[in-house]
């Protein structure tokens, strides 16, 4: 092996990608040629120095500068297209994504078939009012719309928020299970927090829900005498969603028969719902700003529905019963 050939092999030797016979020849050459040996050592040392170069830190305002530039770009409105400045050539050479169109038709066909072949009364989701569906308990053949005790279903507006929430309590009444599902192709990320009384928010679980999967989060209320307020946050199509579930320490499936006196005065909506949930043993799912203060209100010898009505009336919220002892409240648009 001559010196020029040996020099060409420095990289291969360094990366250890040489044939064994070549390697022996190379090492033999280095052993007998002090100049090549010195040259290889310098080659090696130079690369070592290169790899030891420290990393640099971006300037402190780098992130802010990037985001400011991106914000500016977003605000620049695209120029209006009018018929006289339209790119007509482009209009006639528009390319249609054939595969996407075919997929679209296939999906449409499947949806039509699904509707055709689904027997009425056995569908998993029953429409409660336009735009909102409620999950029926699985295996329940009674398709009447009457709320049922024990299984607590929540609102589920897939088209709007991307996530379905189903709440149930176990037979002992010591724990609730939130079941989250999504029909969207993209995983929906969620976080679950709980809070009792005035205690700080406590992270319970987080993760992703994908189509066809279900995430269950169990909230144990056995040790609490207070309502455990569970906050569920998730993201869907660039928006953040937030829902609170007031889970009472003792669930009473028959709360509509319970008549009690209850009053609130200058409390927040949150505190009022907490109180109603605990007093009647009902689950309340609520969204919107619950930090607003509401004026005097309450019920005398009223049942759970009366109490919910009293809070909703003062807080300017709409409400509905999702099942026995399960209510949903949301701000009036």
């Amino acid at each position: 092996m001559n010196c020029a050939k040996a020099q060409d092999m420095f990289s291969a030797y360094l990366e250890n990608v040489m044939e064994p016979s070549q390697r022996v020849a190379f090492e033999q050459h280095l052993a007998t040629c002090p100049s090549c040996k010195a040259s290889y050592e310098k080659f090696n040392a130079a690369l070592m120095m290169l790899e030891e170069m420290p990393q640099v830190e971006p300037p402190a305002d780098f992130h802010a500068s990037v985001m400011a530039r991106v914000e500016r770009e977003r605000r620049v409105e695209p120029s209006k297209v009018r018929w006289w400045n339209l790119d007509w050539q482009h209009v006639f050479t528009i390319r249609v994504p054939a595969r996407a169109v075919a997929m679209g038709f296939a999906v449409l066909l499947l949806m039509v078939m699904a509707v055709q072949f689904t027997p009425i009364g056995h569908s998993i989701n029953a429409v409660v009012f336009p735009g909102r569906t409620v999950g029926n308990p699985v295996g329940d053949d009674d398709s009447s719309d009457a709320p049922k005790a024990g299984v607590l279903n929540s609102g589920c507006d897939l088209a709007k928020s991307g996530l379905c929430i189903n709440v149930s309590n176990d037979s002992s009444g010591k724990a609730y299970t939130l079941r989250l599902s999504s029909k969207d192709g993209n995983p929906v990320d969620y976080s679950v927090y709980t809070r009792t009384g005035t205690s700080a928010k406590n992270g319970v679980a987080n993760g992703f829900v994908s189509r066809g999967q279900q995430a269950s989060v169990t909230i144990d209320v056995a040790h609490d005498r207070q309502t455990v307020v569970t906050e569920l946050k998730w993201h869907y199509r660039g928006r953040s969603y937030d829902r609170l579930a007031f889970l009472p320490p003792t669930f009473d499936a028959d709360a509509s028969a319970k008549k009690i006196d209850m009053s609130f005065n200058k409390t927040t909506v949150y505190q009022a719902l907490d109180q109603v949930s605990r007093s009647y043993g009902i689950v309340i799912l609520a969204s919107g700003n619950l930090n607003r203060t509401i004026k005097f209100g309450g019920v005398d010898d009223g049942n759970a529905t009366d109490a919910i009505y009293a809070v909703a009336d003062k807080a300017n919220m709409t409400w509905q019963a999702l099942a026995a002892s399960v209510y949903e409240m949301e701000p009036t648009d």
Binding site: Q7, D8, F10, S11, L14, E15, N16, S39, K42, F43, N44, A45, A46, L47, M48, M49, L50, E51, E52, M53, P54, Q55, V56, E57, P58, P59, F62, H63, S65, V66, M67, R69, V70, E71, E73, R74, L180, N186, P187, D189, S191, V192, G203, V204, A205, N206, G207, F208, Q213, Q214, A215, S216, V217, K233, H235, R237, G238, R239
Partner: protein
Amino acid sequence: MLCPKRSERLSAFAITDKQACSWGAFSPLSQACRTGRGTRLLFNTSRVKSDTDKAITRAEEQVLIQRCKDGDICAFDELVIRFQKRVYNFAYGIAGNYDDANDVAQEAFVRVFNSIGTFRGDANFTTWIYRIVTNVYLDERKKAKSHRQISLDEYVDLDENSVSRQIEDDNPLPAEVAESKERNQIVRNAINALPDYQRIIMTLYHLHDRSYEEIADILHLPIGTVKSRLNRARQALKEKLETESELFG
């Protein structure tokens, strides 16, 4: 723009296999995965992430990218946080000075934002970002060349035999400057004096741990070309540093 705080965001991006995992259960797993260290070159001791780690990161990135495509500015905000150090370091590695690195890295992120809709989900996002930074840098060089704005560390020509136009700095470095700092500056100058493509390949391979396949993908070059240019660049670096007698004591 109101994006959640960093700490909240991090927890929200932990991913689970099938069901909800309990809070914080992830860190021990990640820690366990991160103990492995590996070497690629004889002396390269850069940290090698485990496959699980990589898969998690990849899955999180996929979600972030999809959310960016859906117009979620907060998801882009998170991507900038995740990639800014790497992008800035790569921009610095190839541009050779802080000012140009800042311009190139910022412009690269703007380009990522504007063209994320065209990013194919099956491609490697990191490779895609490196390609964008490289293109931004080469575009800026072309622009600078056409405007005849020749800065102090501009090169006369872009071909492989180009010569640095650097003006010699005769001022001796202050005595208190650490030896390693001085050495790093010498190496940096030597790297800056390499032709563009050699410098880019050297930076990707030695400072960003990219494989031959990835570099070929980033630069749209055949693997053989990448290998031969890297070999030439290494020889050139050695020759440039050889003249600095104090380096090799």
